[in-house]
């Protein structure tokens, strides 16, 4: 066994790392988001930022990460890493962490990241915070965040000591009713999975991409390490809706129950004139009216489009958690006391089946008049 000791904090001077997930040779957009966020954390810590990229024949996509802020990328290329497997990825990542000792490790909270992260943290004996939506090192910045995003009393925020240098990992809990900031003070690396779509992608810089260093760690993986076999990887036949990247999201809720097909069709038409995509509340997905890739909310996707239209959505906290940071929220609901109106920029108390067609016409007219 190696002499790796996760409690020997001082030994972890290998920088901030981001697990850069790729699927079939295409980088996941969350990898660029996390590199952009990781850059800020590395700057606050005064250290370097590295990506760690696993796969087979993937070196060609590594340098692009530099364009978003990575100083270097650990490229782990092996035929056994062609498809994601828990065993293969966990072994290679843990071996590489044990050798190079990063102090922070960020992983996108995708279905793969949330399989990989806990397994690595358990093996390394360190802490992992799940599905984070905000990260800080510097306490003064963290205090600014609390002033903006919490209901804590100002005196309580002011009293937080400013010398803490741990990664402060903030995440929603209890369906978004509570937020918790978690630290991992006694072990390294401090690990977090980060919700896709939350961190903003930086401006791409070609010169930095060209300068990005490629490091090839030794890979000690054999077929005997793999306890599962990937028989096939199937992409969804239907093109999945890209809620996270959309500028406009028009979502439908239980209010469409009277005539589901028409309700969805109206949302699609409105989304089309606004140049957006259609989302849904949990009730709509649970009822089987729309597929899960449309779901916005705590258990679905987090979106912050320029325009978010909520049609017939009451606004349960679990839905709000996924959309309340949208720039402009428009709500249409029959019930004028629906909680969605508490966060909407513009509310119309009315029947979505009557209001939506009029809104479509009005927007078409307003666009034509421009």
């Amino acid at each position: 066994m190696s002499t790796f000791n996760s409690a020997d904090i001082a030994a972890f001077n290998g920088g901030v790392w981001v697990f850069c997930e790729q699927r079939q040779g295409t980088m996941m957009s969350t990898s660029f988001e996390l590199i952009s966020e990781g850059r800020k954390l590395a700057d606050e810590l005064g250290t370097k930022l590295y990506g760690i990229l696993l796969g087979h024949n993937i070196e060609g996509i590594a340098k692009e990460l530099g364009g978003y802020g990575a100083d270097g990328v650990y490229v782990c290329d092996d035929p056994l890493l062609e498809n994601y497997t828990t065993d293969g990825y966990t072994k290679v990542i843990c071996d590489t962490i044990e050798e190079y000792k990063p102090e922070v490790m960020l992983i996108g909270a995708t279905n793969i990241g949330r399989d990989l992260g806990p397994r690595c943290a358990a093996r390394l004996h360190t802490g992992l915070c799940a599905d984070c939506t905000h990260l800080d090192i510097d306490v003064p910045k963290y205090k600014d965040f609390l002033r903006e995003s919490s209901t804590l009393a100002p005196a309580m925020i002011d009293s937080i000591k400013e010398d803490d240098r741990n990664l402060k990992m903030t995440r929603p809990a209890f369906g978004g009713h509570l937020m918790a900031t978690i630290i991992c003070p006694r072990f390294r690396p401090a690990m977090a999975t980060v919700r896709p779509g939350v961190m903003k992608k930086a401006e791409f810089n070609q010169a930095k991409a060209d300068a990005c260093e490629i490091i090839k760690p030794e890979i000690k993986l054999t077929a005997a390490d793999m306890q599962t076999e990937v028989v096939e990887v199937v992409k969804a036949a239907k093109k999945l809706v890209d809620l996270i990247g959309a500028d406009v999201v028009v979502s439908v809720g239980r209010g469409i129950s009277k005539d589901v097909q028409t309700g969805i069709k109206l949302a699609e038409e409105l989304a089309e004139v606004l140049g957006g995509v259609v989302g849904a509340s949990r009730a709509v997905v649970d009822s089987g009216w729309m597929s899960a890739d449309h779901q916005v909310g705590q258990t679905g996707k987090t979106v912050h489009p320029k325009i978010y239209v909520a049609l017939g959505i009451s606004g349960a906290i679990q839905h709000k958690a996924g959309m309340q940071d949208s720039e402009c929220i428009i709500a249409v609901n029959k019930n004028e006391t629906a909680p969605i109106f508490e966060i909407a920029d513009y509310g119309i108390a009315g029947d979505l089946f009557k209001v939506t067609p009029m809104l479509i016409e009005a927007i078409k007219a307003a666009k034509a008049a421009k």
Binding site: G117, A121, T151, L178, E229, E232, A236, Q298, E342, A366
Partner: protein, 266 residues
């Protein structure tokens, strides 16, 4: 063959959630339910029991009142239940929880043909970490996000969901599977089951029961043994309400379109 299913009692976060003035959750004011994904894991185990005659055992970590939940799960057809409960276990994060549950599962014993099942995640913490961490502590292969499970001898073929499709994965027992709601529809308790559930074996594992397992060490369990700590907890502010537009007619819609155009949003 045994199937060991991990279940958790959680506050029902879909209804009204009460928060104490200090920012902690007022659990006493909320209904306690069995975590929804865990019921899918129980159902998957019961389906395999019907096919193979396996014994199904549920394990939960929590305070003594969780017995009620475990009896209910037995009323659905589970054969026996173990509650892992003790002061030393309190305050555990996912790492420490997985150490304790793995020790409890070791005590029950994982044989060559056995399967451990968990729900994908619990609705109170939404971490999805304890399942994979138990698998690591038990040195078992894991398949998470299972939407379909087929068993042929000692080989399981699992449809593992991804955001953009799925993988088909083959794994041999013993292994750990985490289940999502697409996997099945949990059955209800049967009248006979409710009758029998109080006769079925129910055990409590406390610190003394588990203390000889190398995983149980006061430096790796409970609040003190947890690698993560809460730095602050708080409630998010409500975004301020905006403008309610009068009426719900053509004029209202034209006014809204005008505002959006004025703000260059369209």
């Amino acid at each position: 063959m045994k199937i060991i299913v991990c279940v958790k009692q959680v506050p029902d976060t879909s209804g009204k959630v009460a928060v104490n003035p200090d920012g902690t959750l007022n659990r006493a004011s909320m209904a306690a339910i069995t975590n929804p994904d865990d019921l899918n894991a129980v159902e998957a185990a019961l389906v395999l029991k019907e096919q193979t005659g396996a014994e199904v055992i549920v394990v939960s970590m929590g305070p003594p009142p969780a017995e009620g939940m475990l009896r209910e799960v037995m009323a659905r057809g589970v054969d026996r239940a173990v509650l892992v409960s003790g002061r030393e276990f309190g305050g555990s994060d996912t790492y420490a929880t997985s150490q304790i549950l793995a020790a409890a599962i070791n005590k029950i014993g994982v044989g060559e043909e056995d399967i451990v099942m968990c729900g994908r995640q619990a609705i109170d913490g939404d971490t999805a970490q304890v399942g994979p961490q138990i698998a690591e502590k038990l040195h078992l292969p894991q398949v998470s996000y299972a939407a379909e499970i087929k068993k042929d001898g000692n080989t399981l073929t699992v449809k593992r969901m991804l955001e953009d499709g799925y993988m088909t994965i083959k794994v041999k027992t013993p292994c750990l599977i985490t289940c999502i709601k697409e996997l099945n529809t949990p059955r209800y308790m049967s009248v006979g089951g409710i009758f029998e559930c109080y006769e079925k074996p129910y055990e409590i594992f406390d610190f003394n029961t588990l203390k000889d397992d190398p995983l149980i060490d006061l430096t790796t369990i409970g609040l003190k043994g947890s690698p993560t700590n809460i730095f602050k907890s708080f409630t998010p502010p409500q975004k301020g309400a905006g403008m309610m537009l009068e009426g719900a007619d053509k004029e209202t819609c034209e006014k809204l379109a005008g505002i959006l155009a004025g703000k260059h949003l369209i």
